[in-house]
């Protein structure tokens, strides 16, 4: 792999850009791999990358039924933060956030990480108490967040109307080290690094069955034929239930549609990310100038990657009080992704009833921020059979009543 650098740009400029190579090789499946990862989204590619980087396992295939990063990785609002309440969540999300800080250097691929800061608005007394509690919890966990008053919120985000009348801004939970990154670049950067380590990234290859012998996984049947493997990692978000069914077990998740939209591009007016959970909306401005808006999920199961129009309307309607300037903007594009939601709004990184098969799912409405940390932890889980970061996130925690309740931090907004 040729490294990207300022020198490379200058060199290519002098020869009409004829020397750039493919970012990742086009691969066809081999007969057998040590590990097969199903799903070439951010989480799947990150898992493969850290399997190679941290554990030296490079005989790996990443299978993708569509195109690379074409699921939720390319359909989110790219917010990165780690201000969760419970210790296991803080550990994995903070690991993830810190990995984002050096990701561009690690991957030699500009993921445009922008630690511009994230405010979670408190617009009811209930939220004030909730976020103050989170700030205290974060202080104990070593996650840098602070409670700020309404004047500071206004100073950080001048376009905001903090005086209501319906939902006045009472303050906010501020994480200065949170921010955004370029979502496609995260997937592409990991794919390029995986390919460089000799892994096969195989697109348009749908897993249609999981083969097992004596309770152990031995391979998968795909649209490109049968492939053997020693270990299998299912990292397929909304379709996790479909894969679990092939393997003969059930997962405590439901798949629902989550939508986002962007406005027409405007001049820079907002250099932080704002999340307003009471009114079910969150907002940031992209580098192109579009206002990126996300809302809540639909309330019913859905696999169609499109959601209900009225949820978009509700989100924008609710945000207009806090951001009056939005009322004059035209909305450009809208899209939906299928998110996998668990009962306690925390993910599942776990061994499964099928020996040799592991699942990484349940990130629900907020998986993008977790991509590197999730990959880091999942790689350790696959390589060693357990990881301190995933111990609490077992799929069997529900039976034991060991929930990781993040409905406050993750119930609506991401």
């Amino acid at each position: 792999m040729k490294r990207y650098s300022a020198f490379a740009i200058a060199r290519e400029a002098l020869r009409n850009h004829t020397g750039w190579e493919r970012a990742w090789a086009k691969s066809e499946p081999k007969k057998k791999y040590d590990v097969i990862i199903v799903g070439a989204g951010g989480h799947g590619l990150a898992t493969a990358y850290y399997l190679g980087k941290n554990f030296g396992i490079t005989n790996v295939a990443i299978l993708e039924k569509g195109w690379l990063g074409g699921g939720n990785t390319g359909r989110n609002t790219t917010i990165i933060r780690s201000n969760y309440l419970q210790d296991p969540s803080a550990a994995i999300y903070e690991k993830s956030r810190s990995l984002y800080e050096t990701m561009s250097q690690d991957l030699n691929y500009n993921v445009m990480f922008s630690p511009r800061g994230v405010i979670m608005l408190a617009q009811t007394q209930h939220e004030v108490r909730g976020y103050k509690r989170t700030a205290h919890a974060n202080a104990l966990q070593g996650v840098q967040t602070e409670w700020i008053g309404p004047e500071q919120v206004k100073e950080l985000c001048p376009i905001m109307n903090i005086s209501g009348p319906r939902y006045p801004v009472l303050g906010g939970l501020w994480q200065a080290r949170g921010g955004t990154a370029r979502h496609d670049a995260v997937a592409w950067g990991y794919a390029r690094a995986c390919s460089d380590m000799g892994m096969d990234v195989i697109q348009q290859c749908e897993v249609q069955g999981i083969r097992q012998e004596n309770g152990k996984v031995v391979g998968v049947d795909t649209s490109k034929g049968a492939i053997d493997c020693d270990k299998l990692g299912a990292v397929v978000a909304g379709h996790s239930g479909v894969l679990a069914k092939m393997a003969g077990f059930r997962l405590p998740i439901e798949s629902v549609a989550l939508q986002a939209l962007v406005s027409e591009p405007i001049k820079p007016c907002m250099d932080v990310v704002v999340m307003a959970n009471t009114v079910h909306g969150y907002l940031s401005q992209s580098d192109k100038g579009e206002m990126v808006i996300g809302g809540g999920t639909d309330g019913y199961n859905n696999y169609t990657q499109r959601g209900s129009f009225h949820h978009i309307e509700e989100t924008v309607r609710a945000l207009v009080e806090t951001f009056p300037m939005l009322s004059r903007l035209k909305m450009l594009r809208q899209w939906g992704g299928i998110v996998d939601v668990t009962g306690d709004r925390s993910p599942i990184l776990s061994q499964t009833p099928l020996d040799g098969m592991f699942v990484n799912c349940g990130w629900g409405t907020g998986g993008f921020k977790a991509i590197p940390g999730s990959g880091w932890a999942m790689a350790e889980l696959i390589a060693k059979g357990r990881s301190p970061l995933t111990d609490e996130f077992s799929m069997f925690r529900f039976r034991e009543g060991k929930f990781i309740d993040e409905s406050v931090a993750a119930g609506v907004a991401h």
Partner: protein, 109 residues
Amino acid sequence: MLILHCPYCGMDVDETDLHPGGQAHLRREGPGSSDEDFEDYLFTRENPKGVHFERWRHVYGCGKWFHAARCTNTLEVFGTYPAQTLDPPQEIRDKMSGKRPGWSWGIFK
């Protein structure tokens, strides 16, 4: 927009007038059930890519609960019926079998 027929009011209702209530035909487990069954009852819901039975409430209408048979992969609606019905009506099953031969869902086939 999803439009469901309210079996009580006899009218087609937009989803904005409805409230989704999750999986239908849930078998409730009580004292004496196994840990696995109780876990399934509390936490594990059917999450099919295909035919699905759901509870809905006509919240801005008659206020009553009903069941809907729907496809989560195409958003096609096969029919609705009152919530007191223990098994999906044969008419709806026939319609589903016509369009999705060999379908199965939880306890139903």
